[in-house]
């Protein structure tokens, strides 16, 4: 293939990936409500969005659950990576294996097995159940991100610290955590986007009291959507891009 054709092909694939998103963005600024025609630039839909309580609550819920689930997943995932890297204990391979299976399980299987757990425990579906479900989704990704950062670690620092009398907690707090910090933050941002991106797990593990954005849009798609949803999609895309760019910056620092 000559270079010209290659460029054309790449551009066509990018156009395929971006055309729908671009259309949503364009329509969020179009003052015409239903027709395709461009009737002039407006920010009305963003104002309407601001006053649309249901939509704003759902979007806010999505961001809150993403932040909380990312924090919980980062905590659990970092500890899991730390003990897997630092200690030898019975059941270590089982832990590795379970994390791998969790990462590879189809979303719908994770969602349903957790739904059955919540039913068995008689937990009402809502914030708490969704929080745990999203944390389960994200933990293996945090653990692998942090573990890959551990791989390049010089082990003699830890040995030296132990010889000088550092406790296990001090090793964790003063050596491991600072060294792993970029991966930990990167893992948090990765979890944040994973949680925002999810549809299937939210579908099964949250209740009507705690509606998140994708489910709200899901129920709206069939009934017809007003352009303020376009505006909201643009805002959510911007948040995703920001989290993504930040996490890539942080993960790159290790090189």
């Amino acid at each position: 293939m000559n270079r010209w054709l290659q460029g054309l092909y790449a551009a066509a694939v990018y156009a395929f990936l971006y055309a729908p998103l671009a259309i949503v963005a364009v329509f969020s600024f179009n003052s015409s409500k239903y027709s395709l025609a461009w009737k002039g630039f407006t920010l009305d839909w963003y104002v309407k969005l601001w006053h649309n309580a249901g939509l704003m609550t759902a979007a806010l819920n999505s961001l809150v659950i993403a932040a909380c689930a990312a924090t919980l997943a980062t905590l659990l995932g970092t500890v899991a990576a730390f003990i897997l890297h630092q200690y030898r204990f019975p059941g270590r391979r089982l832990l590795f294996g379970t994390l791998f299976v969790m990462m590879m399980s189809p979303d719908i299987v994770i969602a349903i097995s957790l739904l059955l757990l919540f039913l068995a425990l008689a937990l009402p579906l809502g914030f708490t159940t969704l929080l745990f479900a999203h944390a389960v989704l994200c933990v293996p990704f945090v653990a692998t991100t942090v573990l890959s950062r551990f791989h390049g670690f010089p082990t003699d620092i830890v040995d030296a610290a132990r010889d000088l009398g550092a406790s296990e907690y001090q090793v964790f707090r003063s050596i491991i955590l600072p060294l792993a910090a970029p991966a930990v933050v990167g893992g948090w941002l990765l979890s944040f986007t994973l949680s925002l991106d999810d549809v299937i797990i939210s579908f099964f593990t949250t209740g009507p009291d705690f509606e998140v954005l994708p489910l709200r849009i899901y129920s709206m798609v069939r009934l017809g959507i007003k352009p303020d949803v376009n505006a909201l999609c643009v805002v959510m895309m911007a948040i995703t891009v920001l989290a993504l760019v930040l996490s890539r910056k942080l993960l790159k620092e290790r090189k």
Partner: protein, 284 residues
Amino acid sequence: MRKSTRFRTVLIGATFAWVLLLALIPYLILFGASFLTGGAETPVVAKPTLANYLHLLSPAVLGMAVDSLGLAAVATLLCLVVGYPFAAILAQAGTRVQPLLLLLVMIPFWTNSLIRTYALVMLLKADGIVNGLLLRFDLIAEPLQLMYTPLAVFIGLVYTLLPFMILPLFAALKAMDPRLLEAGRDLGASRLQNFFRVTVPLTMPGIIAGSMLVFLPALGMFYISDILGGARTMLLGNYIRDQFLVFRNIPMGAAASVTMTLAMGLMLILYSLANSRMGKEQLR
């Protein structure tokens, strides 16, 4: 010293506690539920049975499963055919533009897939962009029925999952030593021979990884077949969802989920076997 071991014990104990509660026990409940007796109308009884699994083999369910597998397989193939040349172009791009080009693949990858599906609706609906453009340029007289067709489901699956194919392919192509292609050329291989006998075998791990990352989620994405395919096209995900939420038949839905997980496990084992075999072949 005692304090140190306590810190260690607490961390290991806490990790096992949540893994047990939030991963192992849910999987066990799912597995156990798939053997319970119970149906749409009757309450679930703790009487072990294989009826749920046998029902999965009935012609209606089996036909649906085969259709779903076929749909996912075709979507995977489409992603591979579109994604491979694209990943190759990306892997050859200059080091200055490459990070940006890659980021542009990542952005749709991380945008909520329901938002992306909704964006496709804007494109495909009867008064959407595609029909609007075709009508304006007089290429068609009547709006085409694009929504609620199997074609729309294909477009939706490929659109949603294409980045999952591109990224592993890119990683595999990037890791390939370009001197191998030069060697092939020096030894008289044509471009086609070079591609099929050098590039493809060397990037096979990427091909398999990408295909699995597309194929497995494609089976489950019930919302895409719901929104774009209407009621006509059914994926395994729709079936499982309906067993839980429409028919309230938990044992049946559990059996379908377990089967899906086992199929996934089988594919992962085949993948790692293929990987280690190919690793050995490269050493020879």
